[in-house]
């Protein structure tokens, strides 16, 4: 890993990043860039796939909002090798989702150059818009706090619930190619960057960015203590949640307002199926089936299979759940889906000694066998 500190002239953070991205896009290291860019209306940020360097204006790599999980977009771009490298600017939870999707062959890792930016917390998109419209500068406000190691949400709007308990506010270069560090960095004066040796060398050779091996030990300290603190909060929050939802009845109550709009599934970066089984013929029940169930039980809830839907989704992907909370953001009825997933996921992941997003080399548990699992009554053992 190589590191560097770029000194800034007064408050030119975005400008310097834009200049770096321009040099990168003009080089042959990437053919395009996927960066959060201000929306036409001006009050929000969404990812834009940029070919023309001139259009890098109005991008903000650290915009504290995540209308779409970028891993989903990147999967669309690279589930088949696109023929060029795409530079992607992502948040830690997006990068961790990329790791999982790579295992499921929904990302071609060789086709992406991943730049992860420290995440200071994100607002719900509508709240972010409101803040901007009220004249605030949420991105800058948070960046200014980050140097001291603690960011508070604006008094007018809280962070997304997932961000409150996120133990991954920053990454290192083990799963990404480059990191832009903000925690513990005085971004009015400096930008801190880490990159893999290969990328650092390439960037240096092409005069895109020189690496001077300057480190930032303060950032490391802050991240360590942040993680510890968040873990504590997380345990507390999920513990409380589990207290509330500790029975079949509890689950039913929790999900009672679900209307199976499937928004949580659509927005989940891990739910990669081209077409969910719940939207396939398997769940196209006939009228007489519904009526038969109603007759058997006296009454059935409609739409049917809501609990089944969530349990199935838990069953299928909770082991890979990276806790980005897009399900919460997507739910029109404010069902705390993320809490459910992180509670169950935490236990399942621990059981399988698996941590989603940790490493590309860790196989997904569903694809692995232990010798004893294959013993049949005939005494046959597998590989």
């Amino acid at each position: 890993m190589k590191t560097t500190v770029i000194d800034l002239s007064a408050d030119s953070f975005n400008g310097e990043i834009e200049a770096f991205l321009t040099r990168l896009l003009e080089s042959d290291l990437v053919g395009s860039l996927l960066v959060p860019k201000r929306t036409t209306g001006g009050d929000n940020y969404v990812h834009a796939l940029i070919k023309n360097p001139a259009l890098l204006a109005d991008t903000d790599i650290g915009a504290p909002v995540m209308p779409v999980q970028a891993a989903r977009i990147i999967s669309n771009l690279t589930f088949r090798a696109p023929g060029e490298k795409i530079g992607v600017v992502v948040k830690p939870c997006e990068a961790r989702a990329l790791v999982e999707l790579t295992k499921f062959k929904q990302i071609d890792r060789d086709s992406v150059l991943i730049i992860a930016v420290d995440c200071l917390g994100t607002y719900e998109p509508k709240n972010f818009s409101a803040l901007v419209k009220s004249g605030k500068t949420p991105a800058l406000d948070l960046r200014k706090q980050a140097v001291a190691g603690a960011c508070s949400a604006d008094e007018a709007a809280p962070f997304r619930s997932a961000c409150e308990i996120c133990e991954y506010p920053a990454l290192d270069t083990s799963i990404v190619d480059m990191v832009v560090g903000i925690w513990g960095v005085d971004t009015e004066k400096q930008i801190y960057v880490e990159a893999t040796d290969d990328l650092a060398q390439a960037l240096g050779e092409k005069s895109i960015l020189e690496f001077n091996d300057q480190e930032n030990s303060k950032r490391q300290e802050i991240i360590t203590s942040l993680k510890a603190e968040r873990t504590k909060v997380c345990t507390q929050v999920l513990g409380d949640f589990q207290q509330q939802v500790n029975s079949i009845k509890g689950i039913q109550e929790l999900l009672s307002t679900c209307m199976r709009c499937h928004n949580c599934m659509i927005n989940c970066p891990i739910c990669y199926c081209r077409e969910c089984v719940f939207r396939s013929p398997t769940f196209e029940h006939t009228p007489d089936q519904y009526l038969g169930w109603a007759e058997d039980k006296g009454a059935i809830r409609m739409p049917a299979n809501t609990v089944m839907f969530h349990l199935t989704r838990l069953n299928h992907m909770v082991i890979s759940c990276i806790g980005c909370g897009m399900c919460d953001t997507a739910c029109p009825n404010d069902i705390p889906v993320m809490s459910l997933f992180r509670t169950v996921g935490g236990k399942a992941q621990k059981m399988m000694e698996y941590e989603p997003g940790r490493s590309y080399d860790e196989p997904a548990p569903a694809t692995t066998f232990q010798d004893t699992e294959l013993v049949t009554e005939a005494g046959m053992t597998g590989h």
């Binding site: 088949r80 199926c273 969910c276 089984v277 398997t282 169930w293 299928h316 066998f369 294959l374 053992t381």
Partner: protein, 1019 residues
């Protein structure tokens, strides 16, 4: 195309059924001749068999997994069964035999009889039933074997009063009480296989044991009925005198065996094991009964048998006493029995309530044996050469099973398979061409015609037929089938709901077929027993009548309903209804089974170039198949290269020379020396194995595509550090002595005293618990040879049990006559060996003298036994199981000894278990025969429960690829869809389980279908 070859198999017991089916499966027209009114031989007598203590009738089939051979024999279109027939003469030569059969009418037309049993019910006669030696009674019109389906009714004309009641009541007019005519027919055959089996010796043979005089002396045949759940006392022994439960039962072994005084010097080989089995059943069901077995030598030579004895002793508390029983006397008042027995140094008495005589085997009689100068031994068993054990003295005439010497079921099945192989090899040689046509024309009226095309049942309006199996009364006893049927009939689309007596029988299936035709059924539910028992027969049945396999759904009313809730009719009945409701939904939603067929490669891969591998390769090549023979060493021959002579006097060197020359000259056999297996995958019919040869270094590894695999990797002489071996030059192993004897080492003449210790390292829990099988005969042959060379040498054999089983017993007797001393020792009191200056002291406790004895032999010879090679790496590459000792594991220890679970891969020779050369030859032929039945098929139907993939739904995530243990899934890089290789799919469903959105669905376990089924079950 040539006319199909014709083979007559004489005798419809295990051997006959096994061989006949294997011959039929490979396109030979077979006539199976049985003297009784039904095939089956001794099997129907056996309730459960050792060493699994399970019924095992369904495991007897040469087809695996389980399916009943009785049924299969009746169903196979290449197989004709002639019952109540005796071959009276045989004329002609190999390739042109003419056999005359005398068929006796039994008063019942077997074609018309539907097995309803009404005739016996009305028959006024009651006479002792031969089946259980009078333990039960029967009528004059009766079934040969009770309980047995289609066992065939017959009239015993001697006891028939000709009252005509049976004729009147018979619903199918099958009875003619006057018809006992004998008719003669002549049949032609290219080859004849004799499998006439054996009979049990007369129970009264040994008068001193009082059978027939003392009521409480019973034969092992009678006891077998007593310990049978279908027997007169429902599985518990009762003293015949008063019907009470005996407190103490004694078994007397070797009744009519190992006894020159009654003209039977041979060992019957199976009695120790069956007595142990019966003793275990008694102790298990009535723990209050004491059981003691009086025996001379405990003989259980099979791989798992030692464990069985130990289990009987330690877990079931069966007592074994080594002694000879001289007489049995009855106390006339109490009917108790006093056994007088020789404990070795004194006569002792034991009072028991019941005595069981373990009856031995008698050789069968073949009417035309003398006419055709068939060579028989002094006892009447067929004499076959040691190295061609299924060939008789007459070309074209083959023999197998107990006719060749007493043997147990596993060996019988193996020998029958080997004989089928030998017959086919000889027919192929006679022809110069190879007959592998399995679809030969059908020139006799058979049970079922050839398969019609499958109909498009999936697009038709459902017409459901529901058939509930009464299971010979078992299911009907507790489940109200009539009530359930009338309920089911009310459901939409149900065309009929009927009760069938025994669905698993040919008649049951024929009944189904009638209903299918009558109601034009296109979907069928069968409420019967376990899918495992039923599926195979129904699949074949479906294929034969042109039904898609998945149009049948089996509901398990027995194991999953009746058995667990027996005695609780409410639960049983409501569960039966729920299970049938679920099947009703399932049969609607089933997807059709793929009608895909996969072609079978015509090459066999044989691993191991010892006697077993060589012999198997030659068999397969002779049948026209290509063979790749892979050997680790730099030359062929294996352990045989170190063998010099056998007990029976044959020269292994000549055998190995012959086999190696034949293999080397055969252009169908490719030999790869100094080669090892590095990778293996595929499934039956289509395997791919990577072989790396040290001889061709630098070369690319060779990839061999083959249809079947035979593992014959051998074993090795066990290593030992016991009894000063390796420390004292006068302590050697038997193979070393054999080498010196073969070299006529003159120093052997000067030996004054030789001691042999048996079971070194064998038969010991924690070491090698199995018996190495060959060491007793090894010691005998060396002792005999040494006595011949130097009669003055004193030879003492310290043994635990002399296992000179079968016809080897004669050699044991001969050794004793020549003055070889045999002295038993117990495993907890093993001999001790110390160096004493230049000599050796052997100390042991003499059980007869009851004191410690010291011998000072010039030479101490250890029988070290056989241990498996370390083949764990190979087993892992092949994903094949080893048993607890490290040999390859058989699919079933009774009837599938060369098989792994599933078809296509086989093992034989010492890689399977310890065995003699002759037995290795038999096993390798049996393995070749099993392998050839696969190759002969040319194509194999794809797995019924194969998976399908929806290209619309597949995300190409590859979870299925990783999860598949058989390499049957692969991502198509162009479409990014996970495709299926049907030839590799085993239908395990792992891929369907990991597929998150049901893009992969398993046929028969489709997600939607399973949800409906679950829903139906929860109603």
């Amino acid at each position: 195309m040539d006319k199909p070859k014709k083979v007559v198999v004489v005798g419809g017991g295990f051997a006959g059924m096994t061989a006949a089916l294997q011959l039929a499966e490979q396109g030979t027209k077979v006539t199976l001749v049985e003297k009784e009114v039904a095939i089956g031989g001794f099997f129907p007598l056996l309730d459960n068999t050792f060493p699994t203590n399970s019924c095992g009738v369904c495991f007897l089939s040469p087809k695996q997994p389980a399916y009943c051979p009785f049924v299969e024999c009746r169903l196979h279109e290449n197989l004709e069964i002639k019952v109540s027939s005796r071959p009276v003469s045989l004329k002609g030569e190999a390739g042109d035999f003419k056999m005359t059969l005398a068929t006796t009418a039994q008063g019942v037309d077997q074609e018309k009889c539907i097995d309803c049993g009404k005739c016996s019910e009305v028959c006024p006669v009651s006479v002792p039933y031969e089946f259980s030696e009078g333990l039960e009674e029967r009528s004059a019109i009766y079934k040969l074997y009770p309980k047995m389906v289609n066992a065939g009714y017959r009239i015993d004309s001697e006891n028939c009063t000709k009252c005509g009641a049976c004729v009147e009541i018979c619903p199918t007019q099958a009875i003619d009480i006057e018809d006992f005519a004998v008719s003669e027919t002549e049949i032609e055959a290219d080859a004849v296989l004799l499998t006439p089996g054996f009979s049990l010796v007369e129970s009264s043979l040994k008068g001193e044991y009082g059978f027939g005089r003392y009521q409480n002396v019973v034969s092992s045949r009678q006891l077998e009925r007593m310990v049978s759940f279908s027997g007169p006392s429902q599985g518990k022994p009762l003293a015949p005198a008063d019907g009470s439960t005996p407190q103490r039962i004694a078994f007397i072994q070797c009744v009519g065996s190992r006894d020159k005084s009654c003209g039977r010097g041979y060992c019957s080989s199976v009695c120790c094991m069956y007595a142990t089995k019966q003793a275990m059943f008694i102790r298990e069901r009535s723990p209050e009964i004491e059981v003691v077995i009086y025996y001379m030598d405990l003989r259980g030579m099979g791989k798992g048998y030692e464990k069985y004895f130990n289990q009987a002793k330690n877990e079931f508390g069966v007592e074994y006493r080594r002694s000879m029983v001289s007489t049995v006397k009855e106390d006339p008042k109490s009917k108790k029995l006093n056994l007088i027995y020789d404990s070795g140094n004194e006569f002792l008495e034991d009072q028991v309530d019941m005595v069981v005589l373990s009856l031995g085997f008698d050789a069968p009689t073949i009417d035309f044996a003398t006419d055709i100068e068939l060579e028989l031994d002094d006892y009447g068993f067929c004499r076959t050469p040691e190295f061609t054990p299924t060939l008789t003295s007459k070309p074209g005439l083959f023999a197998a099973g107990a006719f060749n010497g007493p043997k147990d079921i596993p060996e019988t099945v193996l020998e029958a398979s080997a004989a089928a192989d030998a017959v086919l090899v000889s027919l192929a040689a006679a022809d110069g061409a190879v007959e592998t046509n399995t679809d030969c024309e059908n020139d006799s009226a058979e049970v079922l015609p050839t398969a019609p095309e499958e109909g498009e049942v999936w697009i038709e309006e459902p017409k459901i037929g529901i058939f509930l199996c009464a299971c010979a009364g078992t299911i009907a006893a507790e489940i109200d089938l009539e009530n359930i049927c009338s309920d089911l009939k009310k459901r939409p689309y149900v065309a009929c709901a009927e009760i069938v007596d025994n669905t698993c029988t040919p008649d049951g299936l024929l009944g189904l077929r009638r209903f299918i035709g009558e109601h034009e059924l296109n979907r069928i539910i069968i409420g019967a027993c376990s899918v495992r028992d039923m599926e195979r027969s129904l699949d074949d049945f479906a294929d034969k009548i042109g039904f898609n396999r998945n149009a049948f759904v089996i509901t398990n009313l027995r194991e999953q309903c009746l058995f667990p809730h027996m005695g609780n009719p409410e639960v049983v009945n409501s569960k039966a209804k729920a299970l049938l409701s679920a099947s009703y939904v399932q049969v609607f939603n089933n997807l059709p089974a793929p009608s895909l067929s996969v072609s079978v490669g015509d090459r066999a891969l044989v691993i191991g170039g010892g006697v077993a591998g060589l012999n198997a390769s030659l068999s397969l090549a002779a049948r026209g198949y290509q063979v790749s023979l892979v050997e680790k060493a730099d030359k062929l021959g294996g352990r045989l290269l170190d063998a010099h002579f056998t007990l029976e006097g044959s020269k292994p060197a000549e055998l190995v020379e012959k086999l190696v020359a034949a293999v080397t000259e055969n252009d169908k056999i490719e030999v790869l020396l100094q080669s090892e297996i590095t990778a293996h995958h595929g499934r039956v019919g289509n395997y791919s194995t990577t072989v790396k040869s040290a001889s061709a270094e630098g070369d690319e590894p060779k990839i061999i595509d083959h249809g079947v695999l035979i593992l014959a990797t051998g074993a090795q002489e066990a290593a030992t550090e016991e009894y000063l071996f390796g420390q004292n030059e006068n302590v050697i192993v038997q193979s070393e002595l054999e080498k010196r004897l073969a070299a006529v080492d003159t120093s052997l003449n000067e030996l004054k005293e030789v001691v042999m210790i048996q079971c070194v390292g064998s038969r010991e829990a924690g070491k090698r618990e199995y018996c190495s099988r060959v060491c007793c005969t090894h010691a005998l042959k060396n002792a005999l040879c040494l006595k011949e060379l130097s009669p003055a040498t004193k030879i003492t054999v310290l043994y635990r049990d002399i296992r000179a089983y079968g016809l080897f017993e004669d050699y044991y007797l001969k050794a004793r006559e020549l003055g070889v001393l045999f002295t038993p020792y117990e495993v907890d009191k093993k001999p001790e060996v110390q160096a004493n200056g230049a000599g050796i002291d052997v100390n042991y406790y003499d059980q007869i003298l009851r004191k410690d004895v010291t011998l000072n032999p010039d030479l101490l010879v250890l029988s070290v036994g056989i241990e498996p090679r370390d083949v764990s790496e190979l087993a892992q590459i092949m994903a094949l199981p080893l048993d607890e000792y490290g040999f390859f594991a058989e699919a079933n220890s009774k009837a599938a000894l060369v098989d792994f679970v599933g078809e296509g891969r086989y093992h034989c020779g010492l890689a399977s278990a310890p065995m003699h050369i002759k037995e290795a030859l038999i096993r390798s032929q049996a393995a070749a025969s099993r392998a050839a039945t696969v190759l002969a098929r040319k194509e194999i139907k794809a797995e019924k429960h194969m998976v399908t993939v929806s290209t619309r739904l597949c995300s190409g995530c590859g979870l299925c690829v990783e999860a598949c243990p058989y390499n049957a899934r692969e991502i198509n890089l162009a479409s990014m869809i996970a495709e299926i290789h049907p030839e590799l799919c085993h239908g395990c469903g792992s891929c369907a389980a990991v597929c998150p959105n049901g893009a992969t669905q398993q046929i028969g376990f489709d997600k939607g279908q399973m949800m409906s089924v679950t829903q139906a079950l929860m109603r």
